[in-house]
């Protein structure tokens, strides 16, 4: 197989003498840093930790479901496991995953800036995230929480005596971390683009993070309000959601989903940005229909705010409001379809190679297509009645969030790892990991679609024996999936010391970040570049490389 990877001569190559990693030394130089790249690394380490914690909970859940009887964990413990799995994975992994690590690292460099607009607020974001994480761990150590990640009232306010308040505060604080990140991105993208970097010269990764940032800034406060009301209802007996005091228990779900539906776009949009970058680079082509892809991100962000009640079709909302929300849900599916087709068309007449990031991106396209189309099942009113609250919905959002987002995250990590660390990882092992993840994923979650149509409810600790076969398949798949996720940790850690020196541009990519040394300097650019070419302009790159050869020669 041919490849585009071109590394410097390993016998003479070395990491750059000065870079952001060795600019300062000592723990404090990291903990008090204002450098967006160091903060990105801090985030990367912390979200990886929480990812494996959340994964461990998922493992216990799948193990329990190996047999129909509730025999491994007590019912309460099982409920705590799936609750903690959801909370950790959503609020402490998926929401910050791409924006806070890759976005933090790359957005300033991609638009030709030396840092984000507010470096100190950026560091504050990370501390707020850590405080949120610590609160979550505290709740876990004190005995856990079993509300489900949805905190449905009145269950969460009146009927549980677990650590709802601690967890609520955790989510409240972590929410501010994501508001600040979003705010920082918006200001940076508006105000700090290099000369010549017009909106339509920006890489699509920046566009999609911009759209996600708008959602973070506008949506997260509503979640904060909902959580505060739950806490007040628990502590001082405020009656906003309590029907006995004239409150409306459905109001909570309106508030919660007003954030939590856009939140799925907060999670997936930055991942879509990664896919645009990877697809363009490994087919050596400009993304097909750049403008359509850029605007589809914005369309998703806008429509994303007006579909929340599709989580409540069976809740006794009025039939006519259900109609409106179903229609809007169908409309929000269209921009995603546009993206999928535009990525596929990007391959047309390309010169395609299949390095690890591209394999993950292919995995994303396959799994996200299934995840997206099964979302149409759930947006369709009459079908939703049978499918909602079953394993069908579990399979659907895992296809989107894990099959889509996590694949995109791993594609991005593998794509930019040489830039972030200056070293390559072992290619054949990483390809194996990509394939293992894909197979493990399909095996884990595909049976859950069938289980859902058969009617198996979600969040069940024990289940009727007729569902066992599919559950066994799913648990077996989860084991494979677990191996697929452990592999990258091992070889990426190994590569930090033993990986080959990557050089500035191992993938022959066009982005501004690839024209810098790897790892970059703390200030990114010694002088701010003037941008006179479009994103993904491979002809510009070929011309530039030719000139370099002649100058050096």
């Amino acid at each position: 197989m041919s490849t585009i990877v071109s590394l410097p001569d390993q016998s003479t190559a070395a990491l750059p003498k000065r870079n952001y990693l060795n600019a300062e030394h000592g723990l404090l130089s990291w903990l008090l840093t204002g450098d967006h790249k160091r903060i990105a690394m801090l985030y990367l380490i912390s979200i990886t930790g929480f990812f494996f914690l959340g994964g461990a909970f998922a493992g216990l859940v799948r193990l329990e479901l190996l047999t129909p009887a509730g025999d491994l964990l007590a019912a309460d413990t099982y409920n705590k496991m799936f609750t903690m799995h959801g909370i950790v994975m959503i609020f402490l992994f998926l929401v910050p995953s791409v924006p806070a690590t890759l976005g933090n690292f790359l957005i300033p460099i991609m638009i030709g800036a030396r840092d984000l607009a507010f470096p100190k607020i950026n560091l504050l974001s990370w501390y707020l995230y850590l405080i949120g994480g610590t609160f979550t761990l505290t709740a876990l150590v004190l005995g856990g929480v079993d509300t489900g990640w949805t905190f449905t009232t009145p269950l969460s306010t009146h009927y549980l005596n677990t650590h709802v308040i601690t967890t609520g505060l955790a989510i409240f604080v972590a929410g501010f971390s994501s508001i600040f990140t979003g705010l920082n991105f918006i200001v940076t993208i508006h105000r700090m683009r290099a000369p010549g970097m017009t909106w339509f010269r920006m890489p699509l990764f920046v566009w999609s993070n911009y759209a996600a940032s708008i959602l973070m800034v506008l949506g997260t406060p509503v979640l904060a309000i909902a959580i505060v009301l739950v806490v007040l209802e628990r502590t001082i007996g405020l009656g906003v959601f309590d029907p006995a005091k004239g409150g409306d228990p459905l109001l909570f779900q309106h508030l919660f989903w007003f954030y939590s539906h856009p939140a799925v776009y907060i999670m997936i949009l930055p991942g879509m940005g990664v896919i645009s970058e990877v697809m363009a680079n490994f087919s050596r082509k400009r993304v097909f229909g750049y403008t359509a892809v850029a605007f589809s991100s914005v369309a998703i962000a806008v429509f994303g705010f007006f579909v929340w009640a599709h989580h409540m079709f069976i809740m006794g909302v009025s039939n006519y409001s259900a109609l409106v929300f179903s229609l809007l849900t169908m409309l929000v599916a269209v921009p995603s379809a546009i993206k999928i087709f535009n990525w596929s068309a990007t391959l047309y007449k390309g010169s395609i190679t299949f390095e690890t990031p591209m394999l993950y991106a292919f995995g994303f396209i396959g799994l996200f297509t299934i995840g997206g189309l099964t979302g149409v099942f759930l947006g369709s009113l009459g079908m939703d009645i049978h499918l909602t609250e079953t394993y069908f919905i579990v399979a659907h959002f895992h296809f989107v969030m894990v099959g889509g987002m996590l694949m995109a995250f791993l594609a991005g990590i593998h794509f930019w790892w040489p830039k972030m660390t200056g070293r390559m990882y072992p290619e054949s092992l990483s390809k194996l990991a990509a394939v293992t993840t894909f197979i493990g994923f399909i095996l884990t979650f595909f049976p859950q679609f069938i289980l859902g149509y058969l009617g198996m409810p979600r969040r069940y600790h024990a289940y009727p024996a007729d569902y066992q076969v599919l559950n066994v398949l799913s648990t077996a798949g989860a084991t494979v999936l677990g191996v697929g996720y452990l592999l990258p940790i091992l070889y990426l850690a190994w590569s930090l010391k033993y990986g080959e020196i990557a050089g500035p541009n191992p993938w022959q990519a066009t982005g501004l970040e690839w024209q810098l040394q790897s790892p970059p300097l703390t200030e990114n650019f010694t002088e701010i570049p003037y941008v006179d070419y479009e994103a993904y302009d491979f002809e510009w790159l070929a011309h530039k490389q030719k000139q370099e050869v002649t100058t050096v020669g």
């Binding site: 087709f341 535009n342 369709s380 079908m383 009645i385 149509y453 600790h461």
Partner: protein, 347 residues
């Protein structure tokens, strides 16, 4: 090294029966499955198209075969095509789904009504004839059955997969769902909304019986008192009959024949006297004062269980004349036998 029992069970089951779809046991089920198959076909075609594009281009334009990429900006025509075609398919899905939704959530007028009360962690069914069940539900086939449901504590959800129906059971508010069972049999009943520790224990069975068997079951399991009869007792023991005597000039409005009527309220609005209205008026009388009456009725919040409210509602629904009201009024306040003079009003 024998084959593991789990694997054996898997092979055996999948080779002998294809458990990919639940049984179709209600009139709704074929409609739901038709839409499901349409959506499955849509997904299959979508995945095949995307798969063909990705794999086809990957083979045709891999670097070995196509060393130089040709730069293409995009194509408005193509992009319009793959915007409009999915949009049309999604809109068809929307209309189809909406029709199914209205079919599932609008009960036919002649359906028989059964009350369901959900609580952590059991389902209570109250039949109008006074049959009470826990975690089971017996219904006749070939007849529309409406469930009027309420939760005593948290959100629950009543799901019968073989009937393809499900509805949230909400605290403090009636919600309804209906079905018409076609096949006698025993089906799964699940609570699908997470409701606390024993959520997965809140399951049971729905037994669909042929009309004859259903009649036998009804006769054999009656408690001797219909819901309306229970309600009549409550009506007397709570003292409702003291004001709602039905006489002109009484402190409370006449309740006979009220159910299903539009009521003119003191604040000028009109409200339909359905189950929800009756229940809510008992609990929050001050927010439902009919025109011409004073807000003097005390609240019964916390004094009547959901089952009691159902009994009262059923009683009020059955109340066509005030004859029985006045009868209970007398029996409630006297130790004597029921009066023999119909229509006697206690001063």
């Amino acid at each position: 090294m024998g084959i593991s029992p789990v694997l054996w069970q898997f092979l055996n089951k999948w080779l002998t029966s294809s458990a990919l779809f639940p049984k179709e046991a209600s009139t709704i089920a074929p409609y739901a499955d038709a839409l499901y198959f349409f959506l499955l076909a849509m997904t299959l075609v979508g995945v095949l198209i995307v798969g063909a594009l990705v794999f086809g281009f990957s083979l045709r334009y891999r670097k070995e075969r196509n060393p130089e990429a040709t730069q293409i900006e995009g194509s408005t025509l193509l992009e319009a095509t793959w915007t409009i075609i999915p949009l049309v398919i999604f809109l068809v899905t929307f209309v189809w789904g909406a029709l199914l939704y209205f079919r599932i959530y609008n009960p036919p007028a002649n359906s028989m009504n059964i009350y369901i009360v959900g609580k952590q962690w059991m389902w209570k069914a109250e039949h109008p004839g006074g049959q009470h069940e826990i975690n089971t539900l017996h219904v006749p086939t070939g007849r529309p059955v409406q469930l009027t449901m309420i939760s005593q504590d948290v959100f629950h959800s009543y799901s019968i997969p073989e009937f393809r129906v499900k509805r949230e059971v909400i605290p403090g508010r009636y919600s309804t769902v209906w079905f018409n069972a076609t096949e006698p049999g025993v089906y799964h009943l699940f609570c699908t909304q997470y409701c606390g520790t024993l959520h997965s224990g809140m399951i049971g069975t729905v037994t669909a019986l042929s009309p004859d068997d259903y009649q036998k079951w009804t006769d054999a399991s009656t408690s001797g008192m219909s819901l309306a009869q229970n309600g009549e007792r409550l009506f007397a023991s709570l003292g409702c009959n003291q004001c709602h005597t039905g006489a002109a000039g009484a402190r409370g409005p006449n309740l006979a024949g009220l159910y299903g009527k539009k009521v003119q309220m003191e604040d000028g609005s009109t409200q339909l006297a359905n189950e929800a209205f009756l229940r809510d008026t008992i609990l929050n009388p001050s927010s439902h004062v009919p025109a011409g009456y004073k807000p003097i009725m005390p609240t019964y919040q916390g004094q009547i269980s959901e089952e009691g409210l159902i009994d009262l509602v059923e009683y009020l629904k059955s109340l066509k004349t005030n004859y029985r009201v006045q009868q209970t009024l007398t029996t409630a306040t006297s130790t004597e036998a029921a009066p023999t003079t119909p229509g006697m009003v206690k001063p």
